[in-house]
């Protein structure tokens, strides 16, 4: 199968799963924004995305996307290190054009995954998982009370700092990942290169700003304002 056997095929897998995950993040950010305006509205969304069959199915698809993206990242990184050879350069000079994020995608990805595990533990474990095992009062709040969990999580300053670091890592990862995915899929050229870079930077900056605003709002004034 060319998707697994060729270098471009493996990159196509990274691109498609990456783009799908960006779309998921977009949905997630939109959902979070509801919490800024209405506790009741946000908890309605959480109830809809509880242990219903469609939400569970979507969660499994998401888990598969993350797993495939991460496993292929490991495979590609190992192959690339082998291709580089065992002798390293004594002196290296990063050209101006080369962005830092582009050369550190794997490290950033590992930070993103560690943050993801923390996030799943803070929210998903107490919410969807608690409902699935039939114990909706397992965590500090009721499983459907997503608003309560946001207040709970961001009342802890250490968790808030960790979430901000996580958002920054995702931002760096996506500033390269966005246009790089389109380049790999062949949808790029001399004219579209700058356009995609600009669109991508704006898109992921707005996206991550939405996550950040929600986190900071609850960190600084909890559910009060």
């Amino acid at each position: 199968m060319w998707l697994c056997n060729s270098s471009i095929g493996r990159k196509v897998i990274m691109s498609v799963t990456g783009v799908a995950l960006i779309l998921f993040l977009t949905f997630h950010a939109c959902m979070n924004v509801v919490a800024l305006f209405s506790e009741e509205g946000y908890n309605t969304v959480c109830e809809l995305l509880g242990a219903n069959w469609y939400a569970v199915a979507a969660t499994l698809v998401l888990a598969a996307l993350v797993a495939i993206h991460f496993i292929y990242a490991i495979i590609l990184t190992l192959q690339n290190r082998k291709a580089r050879g065992s002798n390293r350069y004594a002196v290296t000079d990063r050209p101006e054009k080369v962005e830092w994020a582009s050369q550190n995608m794997f490290v950033l990805g590992v930070i993103v995954v560690v943050g993801l595990l923390l996030h799943l533990y803070n929210f998903w474990y107490n919410m969807m998982f608690a409902e699935l095992i039939g114990d909706p009062y397992m965590g500090p709040c009721y499983a459907g009370d997503g608003y309560g969990y946001i207040v709970e999580t961001f009342s802890n300053p250490i968790l808030t700092v960790l979430y901000v670091v996580w958002f920054v890592a995702i931002w760096f990862h996506l500033t390269h990942g966005f246009w790089s995915a389109l380049q790999t899929l062949g949808w790029n050229g001399k004219v579209w290169f700058q356009r995609w870079k600009t669109i991508g930077t704006w898109y992921v900056t707005i996206l991550m700003a939405l996550f950040l605003v929600v986190a900071l709002k609850f960190a600084f004034c909890g559910g009060a304002c």
Partner: protein, 252 residues
């Protein structure tokens, strides 16, 4: 006015692909700054030979930037830093300052094993080219140049792609040891012209398969290749190769 500079040169010595290799160091005195980098290495070798030592081995041929033979990694940049797109043979000592330490290394990539010192085996590029970097034509009398009309823009772009001299700086600069800029330029120079279209799908598949087989890495779009390419090849070529390859595979 030309002035003379003195500097330290650290150059890589390695007896073969299996040898560990090491740096050797030498003070170079009063080198005129209008000396080319390769001429400076010739001076170094004359000094070494006069002292009865083994000369430093490096690749070079035309010394006018068109053959793609010279290949030195100078102070962390393939072909040295020139900002204008130039090969090592077009690099002049006026780019350096009095008292500098100049580090010279070979292209370091698993697909380019060291033959000796800074001379590396780049025959992997020839093998990729042989896998599909040509058009199958009947020999015979040359056809009229205007028999097939080609838009000027396409002709220019194909020519830009064809200026790739296959020096391997893209592979040397890439943290993944990927050859995508070379392969994409060679695929593009045909893909952009009507004569190259009939075999475009076959060519993209064959050249990428050969590239993977020879142990080059996977492209992660860091753009280090286009930043150091002496012929200013663009990563737009890589997008075109991806397009050609994906299209070819989906049509199978």
């Amino acid at each position: 006015m030309a002035k003379n500079i003195s500097f330290t040169i650290k150059y890589w010595k390695q007896n073969g692909p299996k040898d560990a290799g090491h740096f050797e160091q030498r003070e170079m005195k009063d080198i005129p700054d209008d000396t080319s980098f390769l001429e400076m290495l010739d001076i170094l070798n004359e000094e070494l030979i006069e002292e009865g030592k083994e000369p430093f081995v490096f690749d070079h041929d035309c010394r006018e930037g068109i053959c793609g033979m010279c290949s030195l990694y100078i102070n962390g940049t393939p072909h040295g830093k020139t900002e204008t797109g130039a090969t090592t043979c077009q690099l002049y000592m006026r780019r350096f300052n009095d008292g500098d330490v100049i580090t010279v290394e070979p292209w370091r990539s698993a697909a380019f094993p060291v033959i000796k010192d800074c001379m590396v085996d780049r025959s992997a590029f020839d093998k990729i080219q042989q896998a599909g970097g040509y058009i199958t034509v009947r020999t015979g009398a040359p056809q009229d140049a205007n028999a097939i009309l080609i838009p000027k823009q396409n002709a220019d772009e194909a020519m830009d792609c064809a200026t790739c001299i296959g020096c391997g700086a893209c592979v040397a600069a890439c943290k993944n040891g990927s050859a995508m800029l070379f392969v994409s330029s060679k695929v593009s120079q045909f893909a952009l012209l009507p004569q190259g279209r009939p075999e475009a799908a076959k060519r993209a598949k064959a050249m990428v398969a050969k590239m993977d087989e020879l142990g080059f890495g996977n492209c992660t779009n860091t753009r280090a290749c286009e930043a150091v390419c002496p012929k200013n090849e663009s990563i737009a070529n890589i997008a075109r190769l991806n397009r050609e390859f994906i299209k070819a595979k989906l049509n199978d």
